[in-house]
Amino acid sequence: MTATAWLAAVQTLLAVGLAPGLAGVVRRLKARLQGRIGPPIGQPYRELRKLLQKEPLVAHHASWLFRATPFIVFATTVAVAALVPLLAVGLPIYAVGDLIVVVYLLLAGTFFLALAGLDPGSPFGGMGASREMTIAALAEPVIGVAIFALALTADSTNLGRIAARMLAHPATAVSPGHLLAFAALFIVTLAETGRLPVDNPSTHLELTMIHEAMLLEYSGRYLALLEWAADIKLFVFFALLANLFVPWGLAVTLTPLALAVALGALALKLGVLALALALLETRVAKLRLFRVPELLSVSFVLALLAVTASLLGR
């Protein structure tokens, strides 16, 4: 394998490996904001390790789809992680799938997870599936238009090229189109990763659940895969926000120093985003399910304004 292929593999493993840590950081920060000490940052890793050893339970009526879904969801999420520039721009792997592929791969994961929610015949799973698909469907146009805004300034949907173009033309980073698109995508990130104010990741009340309701039936290694995939999804969305809108630090040349800088920059950017998320989640309450479409339409309008601004600013 060539160096770029190795780098792509390292990038992917980095995302997969660091994702639970990012979730741990968010949890820790939230605990601190609530005046608690909170769990150690490594806590999600411990939970995954424990779940892997536990006995998996499967409902009587569940089919093979229920057991296949964790693998499908995990695979699509990891594939997405492989396509997102974490350390370097201009790797050949970005040509395997562009931003549109990323969005639809994530949709594929959601699709199968929703089916798995319906599979055991439990009302909670159906409820979660219905809600998750509703929100996914409504978030889709926002992502579409935001992609348009990004592709418009970069002239490409290739993720590596979007970041590279921004590095070459730093002035575009503060253009109104870009800032609006960032805001739109940030709201979508909250919706897609099941964060407050759209969904409460730590709720215990079945009737208020969205994402969690589909996982209620899962246990053991299947649950571990799904939890891990959810962590990777958050990581990937953060990485997209960080490296498409603020690409500085990404390695243009593949020297060890540049890569080390890229790693540091990534950690810094993710840390800032994690802090923002923790602050937001401490500050806002969960929206009623039927207020979520309003939030998403706000972000749709933001995205549309972003495109208009970029279009007129060309």
């Binding site: 009587h60 949709l107 469907a137 889709e140 970029s310």
Partner: protein, 691 residues
């Protein structure tokens, strides 16, 4: 190339053989003859399509089979794409139809949602199904080969009638009769528009070859009129909102191989006609033409899928989803026309290639889904999803194949629905090249609508698959279901394989499609890059690349690695089977599950403005006290306001006019003779004045 001519002859002979064979012989032999004729003919059609697409040169097919003067046939790459569609779905439908037209395992037929005769109904006549299948395939083949207006019209009408008869195979069903009536009415309105536009286009002589029409120059006013007539004519055929009313009625009541053909292929004839007339013969037009198509397509896409979401009749759901997909194709064509009007050839060719590709893909997955729905209906006796469920256990093959179709229609990578939607996205993203900002701004909105439609499609097909095939059976019929016979599974498997192959192989398909673009008069722009750059295992649009093959390999690789990784990590505790978790409830019954209506409820509330839903809650209490509820009745309906807004006033008007006209019918022979004389006189005078 004489082989093409021979293939075309073989096609016609095979279909004729199948049609006659199915009609004259009974029982298994009749079914076999009908299926064999349709299969042989469709395979020949497929070969013809592949041959022409590979060769790339258009060739006339003189004196094909029947020596009627005025019939002109020709095959070029654009026809060839649609020949592929006919051949692919035709072969699958032929194989599937063999099993489907056999008497079903004895389940009393339950009425579908919303009316329909109760009680068992006699199974539709297999002879009619076999004959009509061959007839429909033959007329559609003729349709795409037509090279003059006369042949085009002839095939069009024959196809409409064959479809209508198919809808009527179960004539005892009042729903079918109603559907057929609507279908006839709408398709004849479309036919009238088609006659008008072809007369305008060919200057009155319907027999001149299209090549002459291609060279003709028309005034702008006439061109606009032709375009609007084309939108109406082909819109009715393709089921464009608001001309779609017949579609969700007609597609579900037909036998399932016919539903598959109607949704997968007959609708595409509207696409074919539009491309042939507007792009090929008229070379596109002003930007507003594209705008009209884009707008109508967007409307269809969103409306179609929103109505599909609420449906609990599985085949009606699929029919509405066809409206959505047709809308997506129209959007792509509209975008292509807009690009063309600004001289942006590269994005235009990506858009048209996306439209053609999506037409092909939609044929594969919608054919598959309709066949799956047919298998379910045949085995359980119902299409009502609220009475289905758990079929993945009793019909594992059908369930697996239907899942492939559902994932493809939801545009999940790396299946075929995604490949074409990706191309269409790529085309729309090029919108910023349009110099006029107000027009350019249409494109991001179109992207948003396309994304919304595909998100809603994913939700819709989670529901379609999840409620029908997963969880606990909701009725005894669903519990007793048995797997479809081998021939039906084989037909579905063929289309499922096509879904996967078309999804993995856009780098093979898309370059071939550029032949069709050339046939439409779109030539590659400039020497440096061919219309669509292809890479060894992936495709490039205008602004991005992707590689479905590598993606699929990557996904499989990750699954394998995870599997091995879990083993290595010692995660191999055996699975224990338990009751589904329901907060400790004593017993789980099928009625505790989420239903189709419940699944769609959040979206029904979100889009209440469009649906205009009506809810009716009636609580019957005991006469002694209002606290003893005896029964609760709940009705939820969606107001068909398009119906109310457009069709009811129009039908009222028509009925009133018909009432007036009836006054002329005195019953007296002398009066009728007088009418004849007056009509003759008027015709003579008109021909003299008009020249």
């Amino acid at each position: 190339m004489p082989s093409a001519l021979w293939l075309a002859r073989a096609v016609m002979l095979a279909y004729a053989f199948g049609a006659v064979g199915a009609l004259v012989s009974r029982g298994r032999a009749g079914r076999a003859l009908g299926a064999a004729g349709a299969l042989a003919g469709s395979l020949a059609v497929l070969c013809l399509g592949v041959l022409v697409l590979a060769g790339g040169t258009p060739l006339p097919l003189p004196s094909l089979v029947f020596p009627i003067s005025g019939v002109l046939l020709r095959v070029d790459s654009l026809s060839a794409v649609f020949l592929l569609i006919i051949g692919l779905v035709g072969s699958a439908a032929a194989v599937y139809g063999y099993g489907y037209s056999a008497p079903a395992p004895g389940h009393p037929v339950e009425p579908a949602t919303g009316g329909g005769a109760g009680g068992p109904r006699p199974h539709p006549d297999p002879r009619a199904m076999g004959t009509l299948l061959n007839l429909l395939l033959a007329t559609m083949t003729l349709q795409v080969l037509a090279d003059n207006a006369f042949t085009f019209l002839f095939a069009w009408e024959a196809m409409s009638l064959a479809t209508c008869l198919f809808v009527l195979t179960d004539a005892a069903d009042p729903e079918a009769v109603r559907a057929a009536r609507w279908y006839l009415g709408m398709s004849h309105a479309g036919f009238a528009a088609l006659v008008g536009l072809l007369l305008l286009l060919s200057g009155g002589d319907l027999t001149i070859p299209f090549e002459v029409v291609r060279q003709a120059t028309l005034t702008a006013g006439v061109r606009d009129a032709v375009f609007l007539l084309a939108v109406f004519a082909f819109g009715t055929k393709a089921g464009l909102v608001p001309l779609h009313v017949w579609l969700p009625m007609a597609h579900p009541v037909a036998p399932s191989q016919a539903s598959a053909l109607m949704s997968a292929v007959v609708l595409k004839m509207g696409i074919y006609g539009l491309l042939r007339i507007v792009v090929d013969l008229m070379h596109g037009g002003p930007a507003w033409w594209g705008g009209v198509l884009l707008g109508a397509g967007a409307l269809s896409a969103v409306f179609g899928i929103l109505y599909a979401l609420l449906e609990s009749d599985l085949k009606r759901l699929l029919a509405f989803s066809s409206i959505e997909n047709i809308g997506i194709i129209w959007m792509a064509i509209g975008a292509g026309l807009i690009f063309l009007s600004y001289g942006l050839l590269l994005p235009a060719s990506v858009a048209f290639a996306g439209a053609l590709y999506h037409a092909l893909n939609h044929a594969a997955f919608k054919g598959l889904l309709f066949m799956g729905a047919g298998a379910v209906q045949r085995s359980t006796g119902t299409r009502n999803m609220e009475r289905l469920g758990g079929l993945i256990g009793t019909m594992p093959w059908t369930a697996g194949l239907f899942l492939i179709g559902a994932a493809a229609v939801a545009a999940l990578p790396p299946l075929n629905g995604f490949a074409s939607e990706w191309l269409i996205f790529q085309a729309l993203l090029e919108g910023f090249r349009i110099p006029q900002p107000s027009t350019a701004l249409l494109m991001p909105i179109a992207v948003g609508i396309l994304a919304l439609a595909s998100g809603l499609t994913a939700a819709c097909f989670v529901k379609a698959f999840g409620i029908t095939f997963l969880a606990i059976p909701r009725s005894p019929a669903a519990e007793r279901a048995s797997e479809a016979p081998f021939s039906m599974r084989a037909g579905m498997a063929l289309l499922a394989a096509a879904c996967i192959a078309l999804g993995l192989g856009p780098f093979v398909v898309v370059p071939r499609l550029s032949g069709a673009l050339e046939a439409m008069g779109l030539t590659a722009p400039g020497p440096p890059s061919p219309p669509l750059v292809t890479r060894p295992l992936g495709i490039a649009g205008t602004t991005g690349q992707m590689s479905p093959v590598l993606l699929a390999a990557g996904l499989l690789g990750i699954v394998a690695l995870v599997h091995i990784g879990l083993r290595l990590a010692g995660a191999r505790a055996p699975v224990r089977r338990v009751d589904a978790w329901g907060c400790g409830r004593i017993r789980q019954t099928p009625r505790m599950q989420y239903t189709s209506a419940a699944f769609a409820e959040p979206l029904r509330r979100v889009f209440a403005e469009l649906y205009r839903p009506t809810d009716d809650l009636t609580v019957h209490v005991h006469p002694a006290s209002e606290y003893f509820v005896q029964s609760i009745e709940y009705h939820a309906a969606v107001s068909p306001w398009i119906d109310r807004l457009i069709y009811r006033p129009m039908l009222g008007l028509l009925t009133r006019i018909a009432g007036r006209v009836r006054a002329m019918q005195g019953g007296s022979l002398h009066l009728y003779l007088l009418y004849l004389c007056v009509a003759l006189l008027v015709a003579l005078l008109a021909s003299r004045w008009l020249g």
